[in-house]
Symmetry: C2
Subunit: 394 residues, 2 copies
């Protein structure tokens, strides 16, 4: 077993079921002995392909990401800001209600009604803002994700635009689209301190959907079923689970998760509304195999690449730690600009250690940097060097 | 519950777990009481989305096909000509051996070796030749499939061309590519009477792959893992499971399944090599919802459409039993010419009964016919009228 260079050793070991870290989220960490146990609400996950960090945080193993077109639901990462609601809400899915606001004719609708309005499917990367946190050198709080807080998922639902048009359109001067999650707020806790409510620029309405299916099946409770707001190209937190309200608003949500949470700022600074919010994902890629060792002869170096909000257009691979780069090939059909694309490059590697790296470029011309500046919460790492792996060929 | 028009009542009921029919395959039928029980080797299937016909034949429920981009593995149909081999063969997948013949330098390779040669993913429809058998009026033997012996699947493996080129290319004057399945032939039974060995025109090598993953996971035993030959655009039987030999040959396989099985001929005639073999799929579509009833107001008529060996290019829907047609919209990304595309059309349906039909056209200009001529084994039904559904709006 080889440790990834530049990776905090205490945090992440390839191929293990993960090291238990205390949750910095106020949620209980798992007991030591439960490191590999799947929590009940995700007992249907494939224990062989996930790393259980805490009850609310499961990561897909890097090797299990393979060269996948779509991430199987039972391998997809889980990150819940609050415990999932009771599974009673998925017992009668079509009865789920969502309230709309900031439109000409505000109303509530059931999921059953939404299903009569339109059907669209979008494939997009779902990725936690903190994916790659373990690659930062500073000690940032939060789950120490490697690469596995990301997956490529097909979402089916009704376009938000279709629903809003049916309600007469958005009101004037309401630049934010605010989604409110249906998690239960315990009595005695002020809602805005923990409520999952996120505002995104209203123009994303053009590509957002209200989804009831994930990978061809009703969305599991752990992933936000019965109804989830999907904002393609945006970090996971903006894809509000159990969405119970969607409104065009004059201001961003007053919830802590919007005002000070998920903000990029220098290490040591507190979060504030003036700082950039974790909205658009950046261009990124990583190798998913081989990760530690290979036999001499031909080796298929493979991985996944995403463009963020602009389609990934080029992927290069280096077998010498970034000294030289060779363009690799994408695998399979293009699933759209917000999807990831698996890639592969066949190479002959002589015996010895090799540092393998990948570097993606998107249609807007953005290329992964070699390194990234640290930020307090260790969000958005897309530096290619930290994502490199050292492979021993024998 | 409404019976589909033109459908043999005794054979197929919408929304039920299926009527137990005696298997005409020589394999034991399930006892009456086991109609909904999943056989052990497919205990991981979603019992809510499949119809269990026999131990070797499971169908996806029509409603469960929805408007899916890919068919979830746990809903995908199963049709085994012989019982699956022991699950020992998937305990050490990389050790699986396949022998190659009819090439310049014939050799055997393990799956582990194949994985070093290349990686490709192709999405294609997997469909049993007998899908739609229940829509024929004559009494054909075999499982009485409705529409659910079909799914859209992502297969990952190495292109056959890549492997053959590494062996110096195919020999001259060998027009067939013959794959041999790894099912165990019981002692005392002449192999060619039951051996699953299929020959296809050698030129399909250009698009065939030797697959080890299905929908991003190692291929389950029931679906041909550890290694399956995938021939995009060809009926299911040609996609040999547990493939243990692949050879370019001068003649078609002498196995019964090739010589007389899977041949199109008039009702009452025996199978013979002179008859057309079930190779290329034809253009086809069907509605997957609504199937029986709907509330007044807007209704999203949705289904799936495939082009066969030429990409599906147009899909029309009729709400008046085929008197008039309206072009519907495809849903989500195009997964390639051998994949199906979900489609949708939003309509207002007044109270009353409505016969809903769909009709696909492919890039080659082929359109689904209204009706099809019967054939002895009831293969390849793609008539739009029999696939129509009557929906009661109230």
């Amino acid at each position: 077993m080889t440790i990834i260079p530049n990776l905090k050793r205490r945090h992440f070991l390839i191929g293990t079921a993960g090291v238990v870290t205390s949750a910095a989220t106020g949620l209980p960490a798992l007991a030591e002995g439960d490191a590999t146990a799947l929590p009940d609400y995700v007992s249907w996950k494939n224990a062989d392909t996930v790393i259980v960090h805490t009850k609310e945080t499961l990561e897909t193993q890097r090797a299990a990401q393979g060269a996948e077109l779509l991430t199987p639901s039972n391998s997809l990462y889980v990150r819940n800001n609050l415990p999932a609601p009771s599974d009673e809400i998925v017992a009668d899915r079509d009865a789920w209600e969502i309230e709309f606001g900031g439109v000409a004719n505000p109303t509530s609708m059931t999921l059953g009604q939404l299903k009569t309005m339109g059907i669209e499917t979008v494939v997009c990367v779902l990725q936690c803002s903190g994916n790659g946190r373990a690659f930062f050198d500073h000690e940032a709080s939060g789950t120490q994700w490697g690469v596995g807080a990301a997956g490529n998922v097909a979402w089916t639902g009704v376009p938000v635009r279709t629903v809003i048009e049916a309600m007469g359109g958005a009101g004037d001067d309401l630049p934010w689209l605010t989604g409110t999650g249906g998690e239960v707020i315990p009595e005695g806790i002020p809602a805005e301190t923990i409520q999952v409510e996120r505002s995104v620029p209203a123009e994303v309405m053009d590509r957002a959907i209200l989804a009831w299916e994930m990978n061809g099946e009703p969305i599991p409770l752990a992933h936000g079923g019965p109804l989830r707001l999907i904002v393609p190209g945006y970090y996971g937190v903006n894809n509000v689970k159990y969405v119970k309200k969607l409104a065009f608003t004059a201001e961003e949500s007053s919830a802590k998760i919007q005002q000070s949470g998920y903000r990029i700022r220098p290490v040591g600074e507190k979060g504030a509304p003036s700082q950039p919010s974790m909205f658009e994902m950046n261009v990124k890629s990583w190798i998913t195999g081989p990760l530690t060792d290979a036999a001499t002869g031909k080796v298929q170096i493979h991985g996944v690449a995403l463009g963020g909000v602009s389609a990934v257009s080029k992927i290069e691979v280096s077998i010498d730690g970034g000294e030289t780069w060779t363009e690799a090939s994408f695998i399979g059909p293009d699933l759209g600009e917000y999807a990831w694309r698996p890639f592969v490059l066949g190479v002959d590697l002589p015996a010895g250690d090799h540092v393998l790296a990948s570097r993606a470029t998107n249609a807007a011309g953005d290329t992964q940097p070699e390194t990234v500046e640290p930020n307090e919460r260790a969000y958005g790492h897309n530096g290619w060097r930290a994502h490199a792996v050292t492979v021993t060929v024998a």
